[in-house]
Symmetry: D2
Subunit: 384 residues, 4 copies
Amino acid sequence: MSSLSTPERFFASDNASPVHPDIISALLAANSGHALSYGDDDVTRSAEEAFRNLLGPSAQPFFVYNGTAANVLGLESVLRPYNAIICATVAHINEDECGAPERHVGAKLLTVRTPDGRLTVPLIEHFLEDVGNEHRSQPGAVSITQATEVGTVYTPHQVKELADFCHTHGMYLHMDGARLANAAVSLGTEIRSFTVDAGVDILSFGGTKNGLMFGEAVVFFRPEPAEQFRYIRKQGMQLASKMRYIACQFDAYLRGGIWRANAEHSNRMARMLADSVEGIEGVSLAYPVESNGVFARIPTRIAEPLRELHPFYDWEKEPSAQRAGALGAGPPGADAQGAGSQDSGGGEDATVARWMASFDTTEEDVERFVADLKRLLAATPVQA
Amino acid sequence: MSSLSTPERFFASDNASPVHPDIISALLAANSGHALSYGDDDVTRSAEEAFRNLLGPSAQPFFVYNGTAANVLGLESVLRPYNAIICATVAHINEDECGAPERHVGAKLLTVRTPDGRLTVPLIEHFLEDVGNEHRSQPGAVSITQATEVGTVYTPHQVKELADFCHTHGMYLHMDGARLANAAVSLGTEIRSFTVDAGVDILSFGGTKNGLMFGEAVVFFRPEPAEQFRYIRKQGMQLASKMRYIACQFDAYLRGGIWRANAEHSNRMARMLADSVEGIEGVSLAYPVESNGVFARIPTRIAEPLRELHPFYDWEKEPSAQRAGALGAGPPGADAQGAGSQDSGGGEDATVARWMASFDTTEEDVERFVADLKRLLAATPVQA
Amino acid sequence: MSSLSTPERFFASDNASPVHPDIISALLAANSGHALSYGDDDVTRSAEEAFRNLLGPSAQPFFVYNGTAANVLGLESVLRPYNAIICATVAHINEDECGAPERHVGAKLLTVRTPDGRLTVPLIEHFLEDVGNEHRSQPGAVSITQATEVGTVYTPHQVKELADFCHTHGMYLHMDGARLANAAVSLGTEIRSFTVDAGVDILSFGGTKNGLMFGEAVVFFRPEPAEQFRYIRKQGMQLASKMRYIACQFDAYLRGGIWRANAEHSNRMARMLADSVEGIEGVSLAYPVESNGVFARIPTRIAEPLRELHPFYDWEKEPSAQRAGALGAGPPGADAQGAGSQDSGGGEDATVARWMASFDTTEEDVERFVADLKRLLAATPVQA
Amino acid sequence: MSSLSTPERFFASDNASPVHPDIISALLAANSGHALSYGDDDVTRSAEEAFRNLLGPSAQPFFVYNGTAANVLGLESVLRPYNAIICATVAHINEDECGAPERHVGAKLLTVRTPDGRLTVPLIEHFLEDVGNEHRSQPGAVSITQATEVGTVYTPHQVKELADFCHTHGMYLHMDGARLANAAVSLGTEIRSFTVDAGVDILSFGGTKNGLMFGEAVVFFRPEPAEQFRYIRKQGMQLASKMRYIACQFDAYLRGGIWRANAEHSNRMARMLADSVEGIEGVSLAYPVESNGVFARIPTRIAEPLRELHPFYDWEKEPSAQRAGALGAGPPGADAQGAGSQDSGGGEDATVARWMASFDTTEEDVERFVADLKRLLAATPVQA
């Protein structure tokens, strides 16, 4: 992506944002004297306690370097290689981890298209047909993302329905919580209400997208997988020697309420951006804006000019023929994500753009972005 | 499956058939004196030569125990763990190997729904969009099945189009030839015309479904993967110590023309069965009958009674609502195989049954089966 | 290995022998009509019962194709990837499976040199030091071979000591029983006395080296691993479609007492060979002859000439300097197997040869071999 | 380890040290505005250039989170699962990565005992005997550690001899450079002299033990593995989203000469500690002190009291019987590291302690440690 004329802040990803000043402070505070390696230190113990304060006494947190590792190793800790993982087609573990779950767990992913990124029991219960069939991977876990990859959020009740389904059928419920804080703020509830209280068994607890420098936590709410996770983490190349530098970030993040403040801000900025573009002719929202991401359908003709000014990623292409007609007109057989049905106007080719707000996004950033978008819409000629 | 009243022969699978008498003779002939283990024997060398006679001098065959191993280890020999394998949703490697490709190759399978089991370039070329994206598994091979899992057959030209696509984009073309002989007979051509001559790089050469006791061959048409396959086979738990007992079967199978005679017979029996049921009211063919399998849509009410008399497997259920209406009425998001569109009559629930003919199926077997089917159709009341 | 002048039978391996006539008869008897695939047939059920008759009601047998698969998949069924397997340096799983345990279980092998192929508790208990250390693979199983790779045999008491050690420390005891029958005959006991009764948890039950065509059984004596083995076997590429052709061999092997008769014969032939060579000047036994293998130290100068007449494999080279002097004179640091201390005479370079007797070895075979050996010893000049 | 009375700095590990102030400054400087994720940013490009400045134009660096990942993924990028890795028994990849190489590469480790942590061609060339034997893992790489796990250092010439051996036999040479800077300072040469110029193919370039917060680089000197490493890194769960925070550390580390200054200091502190304890009765050095580690044999009676005051890890236990007598008196068969032969005095049980100096170790730290050691030696009664 060109970065010649890149502004100081943009909407390409919440990973593009820097480290929150309070996290920096925590890192500086931790940087004193020697501490035993691999987590045998007071900072790590404090951060673990902070997790139990937030999520209750059953929570057993383990720090790893990033979200892919949290997902993969968390799932590995409860699955056998012949187990399958049920997830949405758009799930990060399916689309954005270069096959790491297949490679490191050995598992097949059983994917299902969803209208809005959320799994439901009716969407997945047909996978039970394979149970007991030795020729098929055996469903062992359901993995959901909170907030989802398209910015929607599961309610505690929706999570609980999936958890009940899992536990009835001998499966685990895993939650990829890369944007857990944004979901909590969106729901106006505590994190525990839609995790441990709703029956989640393994939680990938994110932080990097919400102001941390690096680090993620795998939180177990059952004793068995936790007992063996120390070995899985080390073998999985994810045991940090200078553990205190992950732990201190989470300690501050949780105890200082940074998680909530940052998520409130980025959610609010996404809301502002969504509200600003929703009324623009030719632009429509592809998914409900429930966290810090805005998925907007824009005419393809302005995608590149806009990207020149403000880096962002395309989520999906929608040729006009496809949008106009039946599903069958798309790439035949492709398991494409069926984005919402609102039109971007006319028969133009459209692009669903993904714009992510960060903890440091300002109202001016939003205003400048929207102004450029409007200007380009007016200035760029419609494609024949 | 109940086997109380099972007839001597049935249509459940070509794996249910016994060993052809000429193969038995070959086994008895090989059973004399000592022979060095692991393939360092004259019988094995003769069988390898028989493959080169059939497929040309570039063919390098390696014997393994079964088809799953041939597919998985053949693919492993050309792929890196971050590679993906493009295949049909109905592919044996996707649906019937309990996740072995994911587990042993490390690869993600990129699946695509097909109208008739056959991949085409337009069906798969959208997977190229992921090439170069480090977050995505990198397409490294296309795997096709000849004859397909639903009994259709690729022409040499269709294979060549896929091979050209693969080679243009740095991918390998793998062919799962569990029913290779049936395809050759169906096409009226030599096997080499739609394998090596059409650009196939790795071939799983089946025999067990066509009269062998056990054993399959992986045939490479390129030198590089062949060089390392000895180690991959041993590490893959597929190096037979008493190799001569696989080799002698293939030697007789190829040199004696057993492959062709058996496939001609089983194809003819499938054709006879298809012709016999096609005219029956309430029964229709779900896929063209191009090899030794008949996929017939029958009213669900007779599926169990018929199975009591003649064991067979269901391929697919089709609730009447689904068949009547739009695709969206099925299990939402499920990547189900869209069987052909002919109706089995009325609004009844239908079942697509899979009936496989074998080298030892007799005309009387077909007649008895069809008579029982007709009798049950008349005798079983239509569901409300 | 040259096979130009190869006699009809030789001592290269018990894998070089053909299939016993009674096993051939069983294969012919099974070859009638159709049978459901993958073990859902009467022959397989009968063979499973035969295993329970032999080993008691807790025995749960599963058929696979070969011994490497039996070992690897049996161990996979009880281990997690961070577990280590304790075994002898000479163990088949360590030296002869091309890294299959590492690859398919993910496990590290913790090897220990043994004086005679047998593990003992004092030899392995130091591995407990790693228990609980997250930086180290966690010992999860001990694997022993019965009879060992050098032909020695564990008594029931010796197995029980290892089993008690394993169970005290949360480990499983696995037995590679490629030559189980030979061990039973050698001990003059029933197989169950040194397997299930002695505490073995997972047993690889061999047959191919003792008269079968192909096939091996994994026998579990605990319910948990057995429950998931169906999936592990299928994913492990070891589910035979025409299962009856493995099962019928084991059915005859166990019910017909072939296992015992064949092992009695091959053990007796090994004893005869050992007795014949023991008195020869320049030849000595490297290990006690307790089953069907003879490991004899011979002057290196006659190894090749003898091999020209009778194919066999070298087990080990012993330069004269090494044998005469300190351990340090060998390849520095190599984890070589310390063969027994008897000298082959003089300061000559010696080779430890492995000669395996088979169920079809005749007294004349032994006599001819010994005569050739004596002749070559006399005729071949001593190396300078 | 108790940390109640722990001093501010100790000798347990160079991982116990904090982050160097200049690295902190670099992190603060990088923490401004948005930057594209996954390394598509100017800081990362600058750090990559810094590597090329140091190591020449063939150097292709990739950042990962830690040393285990650098070793495992670097090796994975050049090996096939049937390849073996030759290394010292004491190698970090063998003893301290919980089986990660076996698990993630699939490889067997072929280990060899060394007198001082260093491999030599004569120590490893016997592994060539397995080349071409399909039953054995095929040697594919030699992995050496610089400085070694026991603090010794390979000269450029010693590396080159191993590289020539590797390249002659189709193997890669991998260097685990967790303490590369210490080795360079010890040798008084540039890093390139004993890496790229000596024939190293893959280099794990460490920093965390020498003042960084986290992060390691895999540096390839050949184009092929580098081309595919992007995918291996992502699939290996090691692609940092906020890459700039690893890159900025290395940029400062290399451009600012921090690597050299820190290593000079820690090497000097180790030298001072070694010199201080060498003359003490009852204490002796187990290995030459060539970098920042001191391996000292001390009476076991003072190990715990000393550890109470100054946390450190035992490297090895040496019962008096073992030290007095032959090698065979130790744990039979154990592949123990034969530490040097100097006696710690008397027939007392000894412990080889590992003391690591860090970039922030002070002369006062050394003096206090030595004083405590002397005091305890005098005060603690000799064991019976």
